[in-house]
Amino acid sequence: MSEFFQTFLNPGVMAESSGLLLRGLWVTVQACLIVIPGGLFFGAGLALAQTLAPAWGARSLSWGVDLIRAFPPLVLLVLIVHGLPFLRIEPPPLLGVGIALTINTSTYYGEILRAGILSIEPTQWEAARSTGLGTAATLRHVILPQGVRNVLPDLAGNTLEAVKLTSLASVVALPDLLRMARVAQGVHFNPSPLILAAVLYLALLWPLVRLIRRMGGRAVLPA
């Protein structure tokens, strides 16, 4: 048993690699600060465009969304980070990762928000329209406040996935939390830094996980 502890929970190794891992954690947090707001922003754009576009436009958008969702995010990441330089576009690594993962996660956010909009009965649109409210005002004050509330647990769940998605960045040499843990593992010939990284991910995600659990118990609004 003590061999197990020495291998996976080695306090000396953890202490020595903690500086490296904290730097990695900061990179992960930065990636999240690009990917989550970016994904929500473009996801909202996709959802609104599909709601308001004429049928053919909505159909082509949904094709695009499905294509991106079916595309492995790892391949998308490699294509963008290592492909853009061929077009003489060389974004800093963090931004390249941010762009690739935002493209991926915005399609999921978009579908969730679209489901939220569709969860509101047409009679709410009619009531608003009968008082002379336009489409934008109806969306903003009647449909979205209810629709977003109906899908809050799903939005939070996708945010959780987005945070974990950023660990893919280690593949393209971005010094994120997972990458730094792998580096420390190599330096010490010991996997304890990986466990420490898991603990740091947990610290990052735990509040969100609990929030989702709390929201899951709440009744969904009647339309």
Binding site: S130, L133, P222
Partner: protein, 242 residues
């Protein structure tokens, strides 16, 4: 009497099935016109054609002397002056009573926040709910919800109210409170076009009653004439089954 709202030969077809045929009907200033008829006779469709929630296929809807515009800001402006009340209330469940009534004055009519709230408060007082302004819809009874819905329409100071079976979704003991509000609005001179199954109410409150069957107005006239001396067989059998 000058007409606030006039339908001239309005027709509407749903997937090849005619829902309204050649409807001619006018509602004058301060006039209350009741639409009666069996379910599916086209009462709702007629009301929805007035503010173009349903698009008429034929004929003209004329509001205050002008044809109701097809869309855009002009249609929105007409809709503000033509209040609508739905059978299922259709209140905004995430907003309280005051916010429900203040939303359109603020966001459609462009009043300031304070003006919109004042208009909403006055409208709620008019329907007897001045003390429930901060109540959420699911904390109100059906009758109270429908009165908030009436206040939502009134807050825009409309020239006419279109009421689509406003008491049909209510428990019997709550019907009276809504009908009382409608009666008091009539006394204040609000023009109304109301689809209803409350024949006793129509007899006592309506200036005229129009009987609709299979999308056509078969008879139209003062309550005594329509209810006591029905001319068509359809109306006679409709009244006998009540």
């Amino acid at each position: 009497m000058s007409a606030v709202l006039e339908l001239r030969g309005v027709g509407k077809t749903f997937a090849g099935v005619p829902a309204l045929r050649d409807i001619h009907l006018a509602v004058g200033t301060s006039e209350l016109v009741a639409l009666i008829g069996p379910s599916g006779s086209g009462k709702s469709t007629l009301l929805r054609c007035c503010n173009r929630l349903a698009e008429p296929d034929a004929g003209d809807v004329v509001f205050e002397g002008e044809p109701v515009p097809a869309g855009g800001a002009e249609l929105a402006s007409v809709r503000r002056r033509m209040g609508m009340v739905f059978q299922a209330f259709n209140l905004y469940p995430h907003l309280n009573a005051l916010e429900n009534a203040a939303l359109a004055p603020r966001r459609a009519a462009g009043l300031s926040h304070g003006e919109a709230e004042t208009a909403a408060r006055e409208a709620l007082e008019r329907v007897g709910l001045g003390d429930r302004t901060s109540a959420m819809p699911d904390g109100l009874s059906g009758g109270q919800q429908q009165r908030v819905a009436i206040a939502r329409a009134l807050a825009l100071r409309p020239r006419i109210l279109l009421l689509d079976e406003p008491t049909s979704a209510l428990d019997p003991e709550l019907v009276g409170s809504v009908l009382r509000v409608i009666r008091s609005l009539k006394e204040d001179g609000v023009a109304m076009l109301i689809a209803t199954h409350e024949i006793a109410f129509a007899r006592e409150a309506a200036d005229r009653i129009a009987f609709l069957a299979d999308g056509e107005i078969l008879e139209c006239g003062p309550p005594a004439e329509i209810l006591d001396r029905p001319r068509t067989e359809r109306l006679q059998s409709f009244l006998s089954r009540l």
